[in-house]
Symmetry: D2
Subunit: 337 residues, 4 copies
């Protein structure tokens, strides 16, 4: 629940109000000042709050209990675009960021081969899965701890920032030197995880669940922001529809929609969205001109031998070629890559 205060409210009134909320309703609440507005954000507890009572305070302008405002993720709370630094790159308005690498870290040889080439191609962010969520318990589940170690070795040796997916909070300690934590589509509503990630200051890539609405997705980001971590990058990766020719359906409209509602950057993952490598180039280009802040691309040194998702991975030459095309279009769009 959001209580929007009048601009002339005094600080001692706010403090008293917060104390009252705690005492009467056992409700955690905090003051947020954004866009020159003073807003009290209330985390509801097991006692129903009397909205009529709150409204009766002189310094209360109005109360939003509808969920329409969304909260800290919204432009209502912050009109300027959020810019997130990762190494020497910026993710956010005016920039276009390419994150690439294999679905899974498979071996030292593999991850080095890929890392060198994507760096040469001008991509500063390496992704690689160590803990892999797999539909079947019998499928390769990732190198796990060893995968994280390899990513960190390659980070130091080659000088790239690294992105990897966290699948359970118990592994969080392993991610202390990982630059960006990815929350996968299946964990988009793992609220315990989101809450915990709200307490760290690392950039988080929050993938959209395969069947989640944009509103639910932004509210999952809100879990992170309301915990104190503003560095959330949204990643659209295709939604589940009835169409069988593509793995999922890339929701390209999510780009302008998210940009309108929220100040957070949004990137696109055309590899997982379609499951087909030959679709990666046209959809990456579409993402650039539709206003996305970046793309996440699967690249493998030998796609046909990949232990997961080989069909959707570009090989190294194809990635080189894609980077050239993306760069030209980003330049045309007057953004920096």
């Amino acid at each position: 629940m959001f209580v929007i205060l009048k601009s002339d409210v005094e600080n001692r009134e706010i403090e008293k109000f917060l104390t009252g909320l705690k005492k009467t309703y056992n409700a955690d609440a905090r003051l947020v000042v954004k866009n020159d507005k003073k807003i009290i954000v209330i985390f509801e507890n097991n006692l129903k709050i009397d909205v009529g009572l709150l409204k009766s305070f002189d310094f209360v302008d109005y109360i939003d209990d509808s969920g329409e405002l969304m909260g800290l993720v919204s432009r209502f709370f912050k009109s300027d675009d959020t810019m997130i630094s990762i190494g020497n790159k910026i993710v956010g308005e005016g920039n276009f960021c390419v994150i690439s690498g294999p679905c899974s870290v498979e071996s030292e040889q593999q991850i080095y081969a890929i890392a060198k080439r994507i760096k040469m191609a001008g991509c500063g962010l390496l992704r690689g899965g160590a803990f892999k969520p797999r539909t079947s318990p019998y499928s390769f589940q990732g190198l796990r701890r060893r995968g994280i170690e390899l990513l960190l070795e390659v980070k130091r040796a080659i000088g790239l920032c690294v992105v990897s997916e966290l699948t359970d909070l118990k592994y969080l300690d392993l991610f202390s030197d990982i630059d960006v934590i990815q929350v996968g589509a299946r964990n988009m509503q793992n609220f315990e995880m989101l809450r915990q990630l709200g307490r760290c200051d690392k950039p988080i890539i929050l993938k959209r669940g395969i069947s989640n609405t944009i509103r639910e997705w932004l509210l999952s980001a809100e879990y992170i922001l309301s915990g104190g971590n503003d560095n959330v990058i949204l990643c659209e990766r295709g939604i589940r529809t009835y169409e069988p020719l593509t793995r999922n359906t890339l929701d390209i409209s999510a780009i302008p929609m998210v940009k309108k509602i929220s100040h957070l950057p949004i990137i696109i993952d055309p590899s997982h969205a379609t499951g087909r490598k030959w679709m990666v180039a046209p959809l990456s280009k579409a993402a650039v001109v539709a206003g996305a802040d970046g793309v996440m691309i699967e690249v493998h040194n030998s796609p046909s031998r990949a232990l997961s998702d080989g069909k959707q991975s570009l090989d190294l030459d194809e990635f080189d070629n894609l980077m050239k095309n993306i760069k030209a279009l980003v330049k045309f769009s007057k953004k920096i890559i």
Copy 2:
């Protein structure tokens, strides 16, 4: 069912084979020669065809009974892109076509005001609905006959090609001077209509049904092509998903997928797909770089007073601006507009 013949088959063998099919199975069948292949296309009847028997003929290479080949719409049957002439414009590879106009023709004043401005902006194709399929019987159903007359008046007076939707075969005579017939999403599987349109030689815009697969869509086009009319333009207009923030979800992946499977041109309708005018520009640009052959855009001289779909219509100035942006991107993509 498709019977692919060996290259050295003789004409009299083919003739005998066709006669036999008619006699034995009461099946209509015809020879198609495409991509240097000779293929017998069989329209099945109420007698089950004995595939084993057909295979036993010496000159039969193999038989496709799986539906995988799709048929005349596929690149297997014709590898070169289909190019369709509408007035002095070409729809198809290397070209980018913009079709624009109001959802409904509402009055003489309205359609003239719009037609003049879109022509000035460099758009040669005017769309306007006369027969409107509306969810409720109480909503405005279009000017009907009078709407077609107004389109034809404006065509003659201003010199634009005109596109309008056919909702029932009984109105077909009225469309003799309409340049392009549109089959709406709700009629994508009106097979009686498709069959009839296969017997005319006018270009047909075939909209994808809101919940139809790409395969079903191409098979609906196959109804038209198998009747003898090759001039089909596919139009993706958004599919129905669970996401409530957009009217439908534009399936941008349909562009590269259709291009891979089929030689037919494909255009995008971002206005109906999203139901939101401010999404038209980013999605039109995405369509250009993803490889679409054109876009269909709703424009109204006074969107707030439109009798249908006002929220998704650009006003005339917005359309001017969009055309500039599209032209620049089409030029960058080395296509002709």
Copy 3:
């Protein structure tokens, strides 16, 4: 648009009001008296109606322009359940009706064999497709005229009511002795057809489109009712979802939802919904206890040799067995079969 009048409105006021609507807005409008309410139903035309002006009349209670009321199909307009007579059977509250027969009429021998057995099993309504809408132009399209003739022969010879699908208005004359006209899922929004069927007095089975909402479905029924034909039976036949193990997903919730909103009877087609014959029995039983007014079941004398949809057809013994199970459950539910 609906104008709900105050109960003390005088007839001459109503007449004057209707005349005014015609004159000022060229709008067709008519008075409907249902549930002791007097309501003016307005079919909108190309002139925007000034709602404020209409509201200013003394005898106007309120105006519904939101579409929430739905109209003649709704319980707001008619609280009692609609009962429809077909031969000596009643479709509607307190009764349970079974319609069965083959997907397609294939031959004289086939339709007689099936008709005799379903009659013996206590089923009085035979369905059989003559005009078949098929995804591919090369698939068997039905016996067409000859199929209708066979149905009518069997009707006279065996004494069953017959149901068949109309795919285009140009065939309507052929259906004059067919007892019930079926509008297929693909034609649910063929508004020209619905409007025409509103002018006949035959019972219409209106199948739900595979991706249509319940609201859209009821508004399609409204096209028929607003034309003057109240005899509409709704048929839920599965909706399109992402689940691949069933052909479509039977929306069992549609039964109580339709019953709440509308007075029209609703039946279930488990054969098309699932595409699997072994699901027909459990889903038919579910339909009985969830409150459906009937089921439509595919039966074939030799499912493995059926020209269409064999996998979902019961054979004659399986149908006998199903009828026994349904009868017991209908009796338990205190309905008449």
Copy 4:
């Protein structure tokens, strides 16, 4: 990957084979004997297994690498229905189980009031959420630890088995006296959690994710079974579709489909599926006759004051009434309740 062995394989051959798999591919593998078949189940690792090599062993019958067999959850591995004991109730074939209680445990007074009445009505299993996954961070998140304590108090005082949802592994210790652990829809693919639950011997209710296929759902159950815990109860709770009138769409077909593929029991949650209390009775009855092994029903002593999901909760009298109806139908269906 499953390696199906010939029936005359000797034990020392199997041991050697398992050792070889470990040595050559670092693959965990184990022997499963079910339905008189000996099958080696292989958990794949980062080395690609040479299927051709495995096939060359004399005692190997065939290898299933397609995922079609599903695994331990399937009837191929175990043909008899799994029966699960909870207190003095059995869940599984021939029995029908009703689980009921509030969405959230809210207070001592609330949970006692509900528990007493559902016990009197003949329901032996109380559900109550302590850790609540909520879309918005500002909504009531459950009483958490205190909620679990209250459930355990009521269990001891009134003598009911209790079911509650686990949202993160770190709370697992709190659940040691909870009789049944529920995995919510949002955690259906939280594979770390599933793996851990495979190592305990408590019954697990595994809800289907709102957009997961039946195959994915069964493979999530496979994570639990492959860890050694066979006590999995599947719970269908509605899938996400385009229909807005119900919260989700109850997939009633999942009952016969799961029963055909798997030996695990399946129950239905009509409260969450529809979000509407007046739909609970018809859909519960449909579940009984469609072959479900039980239902999970939301009940609240004062639905209008519930802190979550009040609209879908029955009040205590309505629940009494529903129990009577269910009992009669279960008896008619010759099952025990």
